[in-house]
Point group: C2
Chain length 548, copies 2
């Protein structure tokens, strides 16, 4: 392991244990060379309407590519070499033995090298992310660049720690009375086999690199199956990992990109192949359930969930409604961590400046959303664009089942007049109307659910988390004993709670080296970034014994 | 945590990391007070033909008990309070909150206390084990007493380490340029829910306590469902854990015994209950597969497998055949670690004193088994008794499909003339006769399989491990490069290999704090004592965040 990677990894291990703030890759674009932004934009523009040839290519018959910019509503025209599932498996198997022989130190060194290479392309990856996912530039930069790299480094460090935790070679000496029994023992973490990592259309690198790097640390070759509509960001990442592998004299095919199309998907062929042993998946619940139920596979899923806000009592109302509005508007609610249902008691809530009725709460939430959305300096850049037309339709359909307190407001992006935009709709409903709020309405939608009391709010939120899954919960309460109850009940449904967030603290944000992302305990997914299970289920400890 | 438990656990953690020999509970009966053996025998005798009333009893309508001594062929007459699945779940749920609140330190202290209490009853547990499983006295003492306690302590220490690995409370401070974002965070390992531990008839405590203690450390209440024919040993263990819990002011129902009968089994009702979240199982593959496929459960299984001996070349032949014979005779092959198939090339094997033909190898193996079995000081005490009549029938049926080189030899136990005994049958077959050797023949049976070469021996052994599972593999080879190949191929099938074992080193023995038992990577089971996964899949990390 090179000095630099050694140092990075030991800092990462320490951050992860103490769960303190740590950023190996600064999230502020200004921390990078001044010309980097312009160069990144140009590099992105050069890839458009071209064959993407940066990947180590194997023999292939065709190219695919159907990405469309949500900002420009035009195709990117980038074409990627495509392969059959059988060929991808074959290449992975050919590459595997060389990687299996490497030590945890060697793997970590190669992978940290890859992260450093990727960091030189953060701006290009940001533009690629922006024009496939619809994220704003800042979010694209942060989520797909430094935050993704930090999550990957977190996985590398945790896996390094796991792989190094037992003695690998020793003399075991057992006193037998008259003599000693002496046995030489060796212990090795054997990679499980090929890892398949299935990406999503909204966070093409952030949600992909943890499984990708965890598999590589475990010694598993990886096939990355991106979402057909968000390939370019992860294609650049895969290319840089391949370069780091090759620079270390290792086969590029240890990580392969497996692009496909919506018309001819190859995900199931890959997932069901007996040589594929580990599967990471981010996306809808139906396909996620299918993945989890495949026999003989170790799976890591992040699926749908319904995130709640429990509104009980607040000190100062404005910062609270502002915070909720921002969390709902950020990337137009297209985040697995975005709040959806806001449970408010029918008698309203208390504030330091007197009570607010239920209707006043609804008005204030709507007003906060409206204020943010209509602010020309904030609105378009917070909302970003809608990745998929279906998200617009989903929200429009939901509206029919509720009273609409705030409808979507037309927003025009100053730079991209054709951007597909839709500001959050604020709906209001009775708790009994479960068809509306007891399902994920992924996208720009908030549902204010009227409850009998804060106790019912908690009961409904906890039950929804248990039955439908939840990745986050936001609670506002100045009542210590109620807050304690919320923590207990929601945690029992394996859902983390953020209390009284205002200002720059947002429920949507899960920081590497500190916040676990998805607990793995409720239906929103069976795995979490990055707990020990996330890495140590990808390899198997095997010991051999040698008599003297 | 008391000083003693603190010390024990830190020694256990260190042993586990270095994988050196460590025994918290001496395996030699002579290390215990002189009168202990006699007292243990008397205590055992006193329980016979009685209601077993040592457990904290809840309201119940009936008692069950149908254990039969394989040594005496008479019923033990011990009757245990029996409960419906619903009642067991209810009691577990009532007890759960008090345990959930305890810290890892408190749990470890209570559980170490329980192990110390159990250690005062090792002799009684030994007689209970002997007269339910058919194990010899020495094996009963070691396996159900000190070795089981060591495995339990190993689990406690690993779980303690896992539960202590992250900061539990901290201020997370992120520099934001003009200000610092400060968030208070707490992290907690939330217990998954009720643990069900399903025991087997041959190792009623050794195979049960790891899952039992792992669940308790994770904070899960446990229901122990023993095999109907081997209840007493684990009933004593459960009673002692209950006493340790009660001494600490905790509910006894955190661990409950759930005895049933072969006629009215309750295992499926318990396993399928939605409140049961973790299931440990030791036993046959068909039921194990059913357990693994249950939805929404975290499962830990040890199922059937086919263990191989790869015989290539040896220095001195006699100690090798003696070692194989002992491993096959020990508890009449009723160990999941016992060798079954011995792959021998048709051209025979090399020894330092010249070659041995295939037929000579068969003769020498048969001779070694015969010599051991017929030695009146060794035979009966190595063989023990056959737990289940079906084991005798299984071996008799297998014999019809093979050439029998050595048939079972009548052995009479000097103390127990009615003991159900059967010495190992040595069968010989061609590799093509897969119906004989490509299935587990649990019990006293060895199959010498004739192969074309040592390469074919390895190929068949590796394939069998991959397809049918294997817990151990024994290899004899003086050829370093072949041995390396064996390690590589068998390890790739997630099977550990023991090389050139003679003398006091036996493939059957897996030592706590050093050998993993079952890798979890092949069909012989999906979990291993005791790797990190074994404990950290039983709880879920959840973090809460508090804004300032």
């Amino acid at each position: 392991m090179s000095i630099q990677s050694q140092e990075l990894i030991s800092m990462a291990i320490s951050a992860q244990k103490t769960r303190q703030f740590y950023a190996a890759y600064p999230e502020n674009p200004k921390a990078y060379p001044e010309e980097a932004n312009q160069q990144g934009l140009e590099a992105f523009q050069k890839t458009l309407n071209q064959d993407f040839t940066e990947l180590a290519e194997n023999a292939h018959s065709q190219r695919v590519g159907s990405e469309i910019s949500p900002y420009m509503q035009v195709g990117l025209g980038v074409r990627y070499a495509s392969y059959s599932a059988e060929d991808l498996i074959k290449y992975a198997q050919e590459a595997a033995p060389a990687w299996k022989k490497t030590t945890a130190d060697q793997r970590a060194a190669v992978l940290v090298d890859s992260l450093n290479r990727i960091s030189t392309r953060f701006f290009e990856i940001a533009y690629a992310t922006m024009h496939t996912t619809g994220q704003s530039f800042v979010m694209s930069f942060q989520a797909s660049g430094p935050h993704a790299n930090d999550r990957a480094l977190e996985v590398v460090s945790l896996a390094w720690e796991e792989l190094s935790r037992f003695a690998t070679e020793l003399d075991w000496i057992k006193p037998m009375g008259k003599f000693d029994l002496k046995i030489r023992k060796t212990f090795q973490a054997i990679p499980r086999g090929i890892g398949l990592v299935i990406g999503c259309s909204t966070f093409p690198t952030w949600n992909t690199v943890p499984g990708l790097y965890a598999n590589l640390m475990a010694g598993n070759p990886v096939i990355v199956k991106p979402h057909p509509k968000a390939i370019l960001p992860i294609a650049i990442v895969v290319a840089e990992i391949q370069k780091a592998l090759q620079a270390a004299g290792l086969p590029a095919n240890l990580v392969q990109l497996a692009p496909d199309t919506l018309e001819n998907p190859i995900t199931k062929q890959l997932a069901e192949h007996p040589a594929v042993k580990c599967i990471d998946y981010t996306g809808g619940s139906a396909f996620g359930d299918y993945i989890e139920e495949l026999k003989g596979k170790t799976t890591f899923t992040e699926k749908a969930g319904v995130n709640s806000v429990i509104l009980d009592s607040v000190k100062d109302a404005d910062p609270v409604f502002g915070n909720i509005a921002f969390s709902a508007c950020l990337y137009s609610g297209q985040m697995c961590t975005a709040p959806q249902n806001i449970f408010v008691p029918e008698n309203g809530i208390n504030t330091a400046n007197g009570p607010l009725t239920f209707e006043e709460v609804v008005e204030r939430i709507s007003g906060a959303v409206k204020g943010l959305v209509e602010n020309p300096k904030m609105g378009p850049f917070t909302l970003g664009a809608i990745q998929n037309e279906m998200t617009v339709n989903r929200v429009d359909a939901a509206k029919k089942g509720a009273r609409v307190a705030l409808d979507s407001i037309p927003v025009v992006h100053p730079e991209f007049p054709d951007a597909r935009m839709k500001s959050p709709v604020v709906m209001v409903t009775e708790a009994a109307n479960t068809t509306l709020w007891k399902q994920e309405c992924f996208g720009p939608a908030l549902v204010v659910v009227k409850t009998k009391s804060n106790a019912e709010s908690l009961e409904l939120a906890a039950k929804a988390a248990e039955e439908l899954g939840a990745i986050t919960c936001l609670c506002y309460s100045t009542d210590h004993s109620f807050a304690t109850e919320v923590a207990e009940q929601m945690n029992a449904a394996f859902t983390p709670v953020s209390f009284n967030f205002t200002g720059a603290a947002f429920v949507n944000q899960h920081a590497a080296f500190s916040d676990f992302h998805v607990t793995g305990g409720n239906p929103s997914g069976n795995a979490g970034f990055t707990n020990p299970e996330y890495v140590n289920k990808r390899f198997v400890w095997v010991g051999n014994r040698y008599a003297e």
